[in-house]
Symmetry: C2
Subunit: 383 residues, 2 copies
């Protein structure tokens, strides 16, 4: 069998620092279990590469990356000096473009962001039930609001009209909704294995052990809102064991703050999912702990991409201060994903997750540097 190959792209700012800790943990796990994994480091996409070559990554970047089973990305974006508004504003759309290029190029049609408030993570909500937050937000990652169609008529004049088209296909809608139901089932099965259950009630009074909540804005964005709803209602019939629920995106955001513990799986469009996943990240303790997975679950020739939800934090870059926790949770998720082919790799992912979670629970509140946290977790893994 071929070994599992990982493309490591540290990126900008704190990216290289947190990625270094992830690689140390991977190396520890590889040595310990004799895992058949290897990794290659790329200097792109990055701001540094851009400054030298005039583009964030080489023209054949996607072709190079496609040979790997997964991409582990640190963070992108170098906003330039904070006190220069022009440089501060400009580069975002350039430096973050590779993210969108990879999602599109590798048809990573699922963006999956789990939100669980683990012991030790910062709790922003006053209600103690926040401890029970355990949801998975599944974002459609291939189309919708992000198709980049549109333009600016009479640009720069008082009569300017800017348009942006949202395009949704039934095919992409069906697959993301079906993926949501499958994940709901998987989560219910995992809970049973762990000896815990959750109960959700359907509108017609039945109880189920999992739930999918579909988020749209169908009362204002009617066309795709209706298509999403019809697809959801149809596909839900194949999953009578999963409770269903609808929310409008504004109400969903409110309920994420008021009663996030009531959600299980949430399916949303590209933009609405972007918003909901950032909210979900806060609910699970903030950017310091939130992983993000861009997945292509259907085409084995396409690598999936794993990145922490946080940015490149240029204000603390290069100082060894960044918390690598989110990056390490991300690496754990990556191993679990890659473990679909190799159970030993999946087990290593679980082991990494447990080690990071244990470290978080024990050391929350203590001031430690990037390397110190990485070392503590590597030590845990070596035991």
């Amino acid at each position: 069998a071929q070994s599992t190959r990982i493309a490591v792209t540290p990126g900008d700012g704190i990216g290289p620092e947190v990625v270094a800790e992830a690689v140390r943990c991977l190396e520890t796990l590889r040595a310990k279990h004799g895992l058949d994994i290897e990794w290659t480091r790329f200097p792109w996409p990055s701001h540094a590469w851009h400054e030298e070559h005039g583009e964030s990554m080489p023209a054949d970047a996607l072709a190079q990356l496609q040979k790997y089973d997964a991409i582990l990305l640190g963070a992108l974006g170098d906003p330039g000096p904070m006190d220069d508004p022009d440089r501060y504003l400009l580069p975002d759309s350039i430096s973050l473009a590779p993210l969108l290029d990879m999602r599109k190029g590798f048809d990573q049609w699922v963006c999956e962001r789990p939100a669980r408030l683990l012991p030790g993570a910062r709790q922003y909500l006053a209600d103690e039930r926040a401890k029970d937050i355990d949801m998975l937000v599944i974002r459609e990652n291939s189309e919708g609001e992000y198709v980049s169609q549109g333009g600016r008529l009479r640009k720069g004049t008082p009569d300017e009209v800017a348009t942006q088209m949202e395009v949704f296909t039934r095919k992409a809608t069906d697959r993301i909704i079906r993926y949501g139901f499958e994940q709901a089932r998987n989560r219910a099965a995992d809970r049973v294995k762990e000896g815990r259950t959750r109960t959700f009630r359907t509108l017609d009074g039945r109880t189920c052990e999992s739930q999918v909540c579909l988020v749209t804005k169908r009362n204002a964005l009617r066309y795709w809102g209706d298509m999403y709803t019809e697809a959801f209602d149809e596909i839900s019939k194949e999953y009578p064991d999963v409770a269903t629920h609808h929310e409008l995106v504004d109400a969903a955001c409110m309920k994420f703050v008021q009663s996030p513990w009531a959600f299980d799986v949430v399916v949303a469009s590209n933009l609405q999912g972007d918003i909901l996943t950032d909210l979900a990240a806060v609910l699970s303790g903030g950017m310091g702990v939130a992983p993000s997975c861009n997945l292509n679950p259907t085409d084995p020739d396409m690598p999936s991409m794993f990145e922490p939800t946080h940015g490149s934090a240029p204000d603390i870059a290069g100082q060894g201060l960044a918390d690598p926790t989110a990056m390490l949770f991300t690496a754990a998720r990556m191993l679990e994903w890659l473990g679909r082919k190799d159970p030993a790799v999946a087990a290593a992912g679980k082991e990494l997750f447990d080690a990071v979670a244990a470290d978080l629970a024990e050391n929350s509140g203590t001031r430690r540097g990037t390397h110190e946290i990485g070392s503590a977790i590597c030590e845990r893994l070596s035991q």
Copy 2:
């Protein structure tokens, strides 16, 4: 001078119950101060009207309403029996349509939702600084994502494509941004009057007494994101006394939860503003206290519309249990708005606000019915 005329549209569910208390308070204030205001009650828009006439309001509804200076709306929406998913899902787009019709018909191009966590209101965030939340979210209310352009190609087939066009004009962009800066100035002036100040730092290190934060998603929705940003940068030059700030909508939602006390005025598009205002409503205590103002500040012949942010709450309708606080804050906002023509009316609005706030502070946590709360506030006003 002509008297100030208010069209009262109680609507559905708890709408009529909370509107009744608002009218009692208005009547108390009218009698007390000899205010020159009068109101007329309309049975539409409502579900009941729809059942009888097959439409939520008469064909000439807007023409009838246009004769008034303001519209005070209770709540719309009757979702039908909760245990019937079909009826539960259907009527939203029908019963809430009049909201959008009025906003469009009267060119209510500003939707303004203040968020202040008043004493007695429910605090969802753990951080005590939540008490300092004091922001005003200004939502573009006339175009953008809400133009209802688009359609469904090959509807209902596996090859379906649904499109939704977003249309933004520079004219509407300029006016909403300028409105935001004006409000920032007004708020700073009001703070000075009340003997308190806030300090905001600009990117180039100056300090200002107010701030406008522009929210877009310009790294993904490029065309109007860029136009908004250019308009913002240009107009901000006319307001060197106001600090400016940019956020992407996903980051803005996160920061609303992490540090909402850092915001002053927030300007956003129709959909993104819809989401942000719902979040802002939670931050200020939830739906029980949140007013919503749909304003046309430019055309004196067009009535503005005032509604609580909450819905019609059919589950508790008809039982006298609904909290009228949001409705009363909404009525206070309406009087303040109408008071632009008549200072006595503005003063009455301030008086109503103070009475509702005092009642909230004193009685938070006590269980009282709709009428009981209304009576307590009327009594306060009569003193």
